[in-house]
């Protein structure tokens, strides 16, 4: 029974009993928070989508055996296809002969692929299934197509399957009596990738020794054999120059380039975040004086109350604390309301794909931890705005003469 009045009770009562005024202020803060959060969300979504899209575009250069171009459908300047995997062929090279490719100037990364065979597996697919070996550690063309990231790197006995291959994740499939566990499934590509099973290179070599896998007319697959090396060029490097550098010491090899660039798309997408940042800045700049004005009006309306508090012994810092805390509470409530509303609206828009068609970009939903960071950032900015906007009215109130304030006809 000996407890004293506490600031929380006073602030809570003050906020509770002025619902109209406080709701208007909360709405302003909600509007700002919604704008900041939405801009971050769309930017992250667009950037994520572009990143994913670019990573799914596959390699810039393909290094393969001599005569390989016979099998490759898209040779020449008209080639606008993404290089995701090598074409099925029995034209192989030894991996060691192209080891130096990774150290060529302008090469960012390389990854080897081995075509094992094509076979009918009616329990898995109505179409013939291609079986490929990849190196999961260096692969940069297949795994970006996964519809869900793998729980752990592709292990021995595990496979990644194309979109139309039957089988659930973690279930077992069998190829020529070799059991494999499905570790991941790819998104649809509308290409032969959809009917392909990807194994680790070691598993591919192990499978390749089975009878009937390779036609008797073709050379047997031995460890170290590959069908090609997929090459990613460093940003800014000229793919044609890199292609020439790879070709120079291996004149007999087939070195194919992709004849399209993502630069125009990238530039177009880069403009979107800038536009959103500008819109957000305008909203924040416009809302800041509005909030400051509301804070000033509230402080003026409460002049007599502030005078009373000072006459009872409230010091300057207490008045500052009370007014700024109220503003912070309103900013936080508004921030939560605005962000919550944005999340709900975004969820609905994502369902109906309105947003995707609206911004002409396939939006990639940011991960929960990214959303948490955005929520924190939007809340932080709104709280900073709330503090700054109420700082001047709070200071003015704190230095007010209590006698004048009490006589003020509020």
């Amino acid at each position: 029974m000996n407890q004293k009045m506490d600031y929380f009770t006073f602030i809570a009562a003050s906020l509770r009993n002025k619902p109209g005024r406080n709701l208007a202020t909360i709405f302003c803060f909600a509007f700002i928070a919604a704008n900041i959060f939405s801009a971050q969300y769309i930017i992250a979504g667009a950037v994520g989508s572009v990143d994913l899209g670019v990573s799914r575009m596959g390699a810039d250069i393909l290094v393969a055996a001599p005569q390989y171009s016979v099998f490759y459908k898209y040779v020449g300047p008209e080639n606008t296809a993404a290089i995701v995997k090598v074409e099925p062929s029995t034209l192989r090279i030894n991996a060691r002969s192209v080891d130096s490719t990774g150290s060529v100037e302008g090469v960012a990364k390389t990854s080897q692929q081995l075509y094992v065979t094509t076979m009918n597996l009616p329990e898995l697919s109505s179409s013939p299934v291609d079986i490929f070996g990849i190196d999961p550690a260096t692969d940069f063309t297949i795994q970006p197509w996964l519809n869900h990231p793998l729980n752990s790197p592709l292990g021995p006995g595990e496979v990644i399957i194309g979109n139309t291959i039957k089988g659930a994740i973690s279930s077992q499939i069998s190829v020529l009596a070799h059991p494999y566990i499905i570790a991941g499934r790819l998104d649809p590509t509308r290409t032969a990738v959809d009917t392909t099973i990807f194994l680790r290179m070691e598993d591919a070599y192990a499978l390749a020794v089975a009878d009937g896998i390779v036609p008797s007319s073709a050379p047997r697959i031995i460890p170290g054999d590959i069908n090609g090396v997929l090459v990613k060029v460093k940003p800014g490097a000229d793919p044609a120059m890199v292609q020439a550098r790879i070709k120079a010491p291996n004149a007999a090899l087939t070195v194919l380039g992709r004849h399209f660039t993502l630069d125009p798309v990238s530039k177009e997408i880069q403009g979107l975040p800038n536009l959103l940042i500008m819109i957000t800045a305008v909203v924040v700049l416009a809302a800041f004086p509005l909030i400051a004005l509301i804070s000033a009006m509230v402080a003026r309306e409460r002049q007599r109350e502030i005078g009373l508090l000072k006459s009872m012994g409230a010091k300057r810092n207490i008045i500052l604390f009370l007014i700024m805390t109220e503003s912070l509470v309103l900013a936080t409530l508004g921030g939560i309301a605005g962000i919550g509303a944005s999340i709900v609206i975004f969820s609905l828009l994502n369902i109906h794909r309105v947003l995707t068609s609206g911004v002409q970009v396939s939006l990639h939903m940011p991960a929960p931890h990214e959303i948490a960071v955005m929520v924190g950032m939007a809340l932080f900015i709104v709280m900073i705005i709330g503090s700054l906007a109420s700082l001047w009215p709070a200071y003015q109130s704190s230095i007010m003469n209590p006698y004048d304030a009490i006589r003020h006809e509020g």
Partner: protein, 242 residues
Amino acid sequence: MIEVTAVTKAFSTNTAEVRAVDEVNLEVNPGEFVLILGRSGSGKSTLLAMLAGLICPTSGTVKLRGRDIGNLPEDEIAGLRAKEIGFVFQFSGLIPTITALENVMLPTLFCPDGPGSRSRAIELLRKVGMSHREDAYPRTLSSGEMKRVAIARALINEPSILIADEPTGDLDSVTEIEIMELFKELNFDGTTIVMVTHNPDLVPYGTKTYGMNHGKLVEVFSPPCVNSAQQSSSYSSRKDAT
């Protein structure tokens, strides 16, 4: 307890300087009930505001328990107001967003080391006859009830002095008498009171009465102070004990 020496408060207008309080001397002793009578604009509220440290005198000194409150830094005066001075305004002065009990407890926010507490607030509300309305919001109280709550609030931190600025100015005559009886009772219990009013009918309640006109203060009536002296001594010893 309060010693006012040659205090002047001047306000500048466009045309001239107005002396709201002009060379006033006043001494308030513990246990006294000092009434200051005067018409509107006579300067009595300005004098009261200086006694409470709400405004600084233009010249002269206002001493509370020997300390010149006119020369103290603002935060120190605020601390003094929280501990030593209870103020009752002409208007209710209650915060509309909190209950009667919370209003009474409000000054404890600014005097965390003081004797004010929830139990004391309840006791004070009982003393002013408002214990049955402790959860009521000010808008649901009558003028007299609001005044009673305001008096309880002024006493929560056991101030040395209770200063009241026309506390009955907006009350009907019956409620006015009730409030004055309450002040009388508080004074009888040892509370030192300085009150301004424009109603000469209230003179009998004071132990010392001054008149104020055009900023000048004159003592108009001082009854024999046997009771007052006794009260004074009793109150002082009580204060010292605490």
